[in-house]
């Protein structure tokens, strides 16, 4: 386990990393605390905060791996990383999921990435007026992330030994926009 601790150190550019339970109520406090520490730019800080909350929420809702907190609320387990590069921050999240959960999400990402900003905003308005899905705002979450970041959402899927999939989402926040 010490090697895992060292890994944090040796993998480049990781400013913030969290692996564990995604209890969004608790993590919003974390998001608030780290807000000023990555950048001096208010605009960038706001984006970091918003995206943090959205992606944390996605893990909380959609991760296959779950835990129950003391109040009986069930929440997802995953990993979130913020990497700090010269001209941008890169947010990545990873969690276990099933094929059936993920195909619609990948399609959504492809869809989102293909739209202009105008179209994306229209899409968000449309989705917001739809009846809430089982998991509430999950539909809009990714759209919101794309709009806030003003960058495409990149995703990747790794097949795990036990037949599930590990789903990785990444998005960049430019520092000088």
């Amino acid at each position: 386990m010490e090697s895992a601790v060292k890994k944090h150190r040796t993998v480049d550019n990781i400013a913030i990393s969290y692996t564990g339970i995604f209890d969004t109520e608790i993590l919003s406090v974390l998001a608030k605390e780290i807000e000023g520490t990555l950048s001096q730019d208010d605009k960038v800080n706001k984006k970091v905060f918003k995206i943090f909350i959205e992606l944390a929420q996605n893990i909380s809702f959609y991760s296959l791996e779950r835990e129950v907190n003391s109040e009986g609320s069930d929440m997802g387990v995953g990993t979130m990383i913020i990497r700090n590069f010269d001209t941008y921050f890169e947010f990545s999240t990873g969690n276990k999921t099933t094929m059936e959960n993920i195909i619609p999400v990948m399609e959504k990402c492809d869809n989102i990435n293909s739209m202009s900003r105008e179209k994306l905003r229209e899409y968000r308005r449309l989705q917001r007026n739809m009846p809430a899905g089982e998991k509430g705002g999950g539909n809009i979450g990714l759209i919101q992330v794309a709009l806030t970041a003003s960058n495409p959402i990149q995703y990747s899927l790794v097949k795990c030994e036990d037949g599930s999939y590990f789903y990785i989402v990444s998005v960049r926040i430019d520092k000088d926009k």
């Binding site: 386990m1 890994k7 150190r9 605390e33 000023g36 520490t37 899927l157």
Partner: protein, 191 residues
């Protein structure tokens, strides 16, 4: 492992797996009292299959070690309000019937000697001597002679954990090293 769509030089999957093996909660970043609350709350959730006594020990150890990283890490960042936060790593994992708690942070090589010495002293003492050492250090601190009160915290950690302080030092540059401390706590602790 079949990668369906891979665009990265950095594998979050491998990173996640490395962290996730036996690891319940892992955090790297700035640390202050609110962040400690966040991580502490998460630790509490994942350790709910152990005794109250074990959880109380984990809590005490977590508070002392996390605070040491916050205050003494050589790597830091500043919040918008100008507050300096130490940065480091906190990990809690489980192996069989024990939890392992590890913290890591960068230290200046010039600062590290006294800390290593203290840890070696702590590891060499039996329980009674350790308690005496704590009393002594507390006296010194109150008389203004002990500048670094993080040391009493280390003694406290060793007493609470009932395991030695497992120290590792890895140079990261000419001036700095990465310093980690690991301790074990039995899940079934009833005393």
């Amino acid at each position: 492992m079949e990668k369906v769509n891979d665009k990265y030089d950095f594998s979050l999957y491998e990173y996640h797996n490395l962290l996730h093996q036996n690891i319940l909660v892992s955090y790297k970043g700035p640390i202050d009292e609110r962040i400690m609350t966040v991580i502490g709350d998460n630790i509490e959730i994942v350790t709910n299959d152990s005794t109250d006594k074990a959880r109380s020990k984990i809590f005490k150890i977590f508070m002392e070690l996390a605070q040491n990283v916050w205050l003494y890490s050589a790597e830091s960042c500043t919040t918008l309000s100008g507050r300096r936060l130490g940065m480091g790593t906190l990990v809690i994992g489980e192996f069989g019937d024990s939890y392992t708690f590890v913290t890591g942070n960068v230290v200046r090589n010039t600062d590290i000697e006294p800390v290593i010495e203290k840890c070696e002293i702590i590891n060499s003492l039996d329980r009674d001597s350790l308690r005496e050492y704590r009393r002594e250090q507390r006296r010194l601190a109150k008389d203004g002679k002990n500048k670094n009160s993080g040391n009493i915290g280390l003694i406290q950690v060793a007493l609470t954990a009932e395991s030695p302080l497992d120290i590792e030092l890895t140079p990261v540059s000419d001036e700095e090293s990465f310093f980690s401390i690991a301790v074990k706590i039995k899940k079934s602790n009833s005393k």
